[in-house]
């Protein structure tokens, strides 16, 4: 047993912390929240230079050749900094290319992703707002030159800046088994017929409606097997859920640390509020729950990384971390008091993100049901 980060992971964490402090102050978070693209080219290039975008890409494709487990520390630091650039989107789309892409696709996309030249966006969810296979209804119909995509994708992060979509489509209808007939396409975002409209969300996290109207895609853009794309999606969802847990725990860390320092500074009735038992009780709960969730996230991430069965543990991690982050940020606002409820206070950035992140890649109820199924109930 070894429950420590590796030396590489420690270095990665420190570098990321320094990077965020230097290039990514909260003033920039606020600026990007109001900005239509939410993007800054210089910071993106800097992240690419540090190797983050190619971290999980093997060296032969121009990457660093690191593990998924390594990226957990990056996601934590990004959550802590409220990092909005499309790192998350691009990395989770990289995973299925690694897992199921053809040699040509790998050679075509991976080096450019590692260089920071390509931004990917995952076009998975639809107006049904579910992560189940039954929710995939955007049609890809075969014609003589390839496929024609029609339908609406909804809640699509970073579509506004993406060069490519990883679009999950239905190529065949199997009423009894919706997992069959799902096909993944790598779609050029400039293809005629794609209409992108921004959604205004609680987290200002750049989600979009993406309409595909007679979008023509060549057959070689299929990622993995025709009609058999769902296993790739399933693995991606597990990895994305865990990455989201890490991001949430990084945010929770910020909230706990900042509430602690505020509780020591803020004086009422002649004493720091952190000396009152009731505030201490809130803070110890926030600290304990966050750290328990963090340790379980590492456990689930390790299972994922090892390729071991992890469906139940991923769902446990996501359900628990989502609940914990929501409680932690809600109590965080309470500890800061009235100032915490203002737009100008930083704790609000985390409160709003917790509401969003808890629902992405499966909300706690969805994951509890998955745990129940995995337990054989």
């Amino acid at each position: 047993m070894d429950l420590d980060f590796t030396e590489t992971q420690d270095i990665l964490k420190n570098t990321a912390r320094e990077f965020m402090t230097r290039y990514y102050p909260k003033s920039l978070v606020r600026e990007l929240e109001e900005d239509a693209t939410g993007f800054r080219e210089d910071i993106w290039k800097e992240a690419a230079n540090l190797g983050w975008l190619g971290w999980i890409i093997p060296e032969e494709y121009g990457g660093v050749g690191g593990d998924f487990m390594d990226t957990i520390v990056l996601f934590e630091e990004m959550g802590r900094a409220c990092f909005m650039l499309p790192f998350f989107s691009t990395v989770i789309c990289t995973l299925p290319i690694l897992n199921g892409g053809s040699e040509e696709q790998k050679r075509e996309f991976l080096p450019k992703i590692a260089q920071g030249d390509l931004i990917f966006s995952l076009a998975l969810t639809e107006p049904s707002a579910t992560y189940e296979a039954s929710g995939i209804n955007v049609r890809a119909a075969a014609d003589s030159n390839g496929y024609v995509l029609n339908g609406t994708k909804l809640f699509i992060h970073d579509a506004q800046v993406a060069h490519y979509f990883l679009c999950v489509t239905r190529t065949e209808t199997d009423e009894t088994k919706p997992e069959n007939g799902v096909t993944l396409f790598i779609v050029d975002a400039k293809s005629p017929g794609i209409i992108i409209s921004p959604l205004d969300t609680i987290a200002d996290d750049k989600q979009n409606e993406v309409i595909f109207k007679d979008v023509r895609v060549p057959g070689e853009c299929i990622l993995g097997q025709l009609n058999q794309g769902f296993p790739l999606v399933k693995r991606l969802l597990d990895q994305a859920a865990i990455a989201k847990c890490a991001e949430m725990m990084g945010g929770a860390d910020w909230v706990v640390e900042n509430c602690l320092s505020y509780a020591v500074e803020r004086v009422q009735y002649g004493k720091p509020i952190g000396s009152y038992g009731i505030i201490q009780s809130h803070l110890t709960e926030m600290w304990a729950e966050t750290n328990i969730a963090k340790r379980f996230t590492y456990y689930a991430a390790w299972l994922v990384d090892q390729g071991l069965p992890c469906c139940k543990e991923v769902s446990m991690a996501k359900a628990w971390a989502s609940d914990v982050y929501r409680r932690c940020t809600r109590m965080g606002v309470q500890i800061f008091g009235a100032i915490g409820t203002t737009r100008e206070h930083d704790v609000g950035l985390y409160y709003r993100r917790a509401r969003q992140a808890g629902l992405l890649f499966g909300d706690p109820d969805y994951h509890r049901e998955r745990v129940a199924r995995e337990m054989g109930l």
Binding site: F5, T284, R295, R368, L377
Partner: protein, 394 residues
């Protein structure tokens, strides 16, 4: 990171598994699997003692002790495995002796004390109850007032202890008494060990909420303890209680108890129909069960983490307090959720004609109340985290 056990640890685990799975089959009727229920009835006590003797024969009561005292110097993770496997199978056999009294003697006791007492504990020849709490010294244990006054070769003890689990079964008591009332409260306390069957001691039952006899009040009235039975220095008893640095503190056993009991609840939900379908198919019940599974597994991973920190040489007062706090609070929530899921049947007592799962959750609903109080209340656990980890001001 690597969450795997080594092949040697797996082998050890298998050895423990085989033994405890077999011992679990010998449990008397009505045995709940909770170790502290050993004192509840003659049958339970006999079971507890017979397992203790077998553990002694295998040398398993002294696994964490130094080799010079007959131990095997088990690492924290090896102890974790033992504690988890034993608790998971709901097998008793280990009392306060090897895990609370022994470390104090090993770290602070005289050569004579070590030679006299440690072998008896390793051989399961003696049993212990703990005389720490008093009516006015609970969480604030150091304010205890039981007096010990020197008289020749003895100390003479006067005062009262309370919540003394199993005092009516044990043949020995380890306790704290005040030897210097003028010193600051932590600095005037002495740690004693003694046989219990002697003049000057009265033991009265204090029935637990479930009617069972677990607790007692213990009255000392000119009770004499030889000076040679002082562990450590006179007036240094508070610091003697802190012994046990080489013992794992993850509370993993408390979580293993829940894992065993959770299995019963799952089987019940799969096998019981309500409204023409198994309870396990009801979405509300599935959600409750999944939430319990999540809380059990997350706290279990935390316990492993605590052990891991210890194995790196870290002192873990805050982390182990979190384990104790979460596992005990979870036990209360779990028992109450189980009874709620079982509905009216859940409240039937053990020997009722219609009782289900042998009334075990009716019992646990009450038994678990002690868990969030004994050995440091949840509030005290939070205080430890607040002070030692979060460095919050007083």
């Amino acid at each position: 990171m690597d969450f795997r056990l080594t092949p040697e640890q797996e082998t050890l685990k298998k050895e423990f598994e085989d033994f405890f799975a077999e011992e679990a089959k010998r449990a008397p009727e009505g045995w709940t699997g909770r170790t502290a229920a050993a004192a509840d009835s003659d049958e339970n006590w006999a079971y507890h003692r017979s397992v203790a003797e077998k553990l002694a024969q295998k040398g398993w009561l002294s696994l964490p002790w130094p080799k010079e005292y007959g131990g095997r110097e088990h690492s924290y993770l090896e102890q974790l495995i033992f504690n988890e496997v034993r608790a998971y199978h709901g097998v008793p056999g280990v009392d306060n002796g090897p895990y609370i009294v022994a470390p104090s003697i090993i770290e602070h006791g005289s050569k004579e004390l070590k030679q006299k007492w440690l072998p008896k504990m390793a051989r399961a020849e003696i049993t212990w109850c703990q005389g720490w709490s008093e009516p006015n010294a609970g969480s604030d244990l150091a304010s205890l007032t039981t007096r010990a006054v020197e008289d020749g070769d003895d100390f003479v003890i006067n005062g009262q202890k309370i919540w003394t689990t199993g005092a009516h079964r044990a043949d020995h008591i380890f306790f704290l008494a005040r030897t210097d009332p003028s010193a600051p409260k932590h600095k005037g306390i002495t740690y004693f060990i003694s046989e219990i069957d002697k003049p000057g001691i009265t033991i009265r039952p204090l029935l637990f909420i479930n009617r069972k006899r677990k607790y007692n009040e213990v009255f000392f009235d000119n009770f004499r303890v030889p000076k040679k039975n002082v562990v450590g220095q006179v007036n240094q008893g508070w610091y003697v209680t802190m012994a046990g640095i080489n013992f794992e503190r993850s509370t993993v056993g408390a979580i293993a108890d829940l894992r065993r009991e959770f299995r019963w609840l799952i089987e019940f939900c799969k096998g019981t129909n309500r409204n023409n379908r198994p309870l396990a198919k009801d979405p509300l019940i599935r959600s409750k069960l999944a939430q319990l599974a999540i809380e059990i597994d997350t706290v279990r991973q935390w316990a492993y983490y605590v052990s891991w920190l210890q194995s790196k040489g870290q002192n873990v007062p805050a982390e182990s307090s979190v384990s104790k706090w979460f596992s005990s609070e979870l036990a209360v929530r779990f028992a109450n959720t189980a009874v709620e899921i079982m509905g009216l049947y859940g409240t039937l007592r053990q020997k009722s004609k219609y009782a289900m799962i042998q009334g075990k959750f009716e019992d646990l609903c009450q038994y678990s109340l002690g868990l969030t109080i004994a050995a440091g209340t949840t509030e005290i656990m939070k205080n430890i985290v607040a002070r030692m980890k979060l460095k919050l001001p007083r």
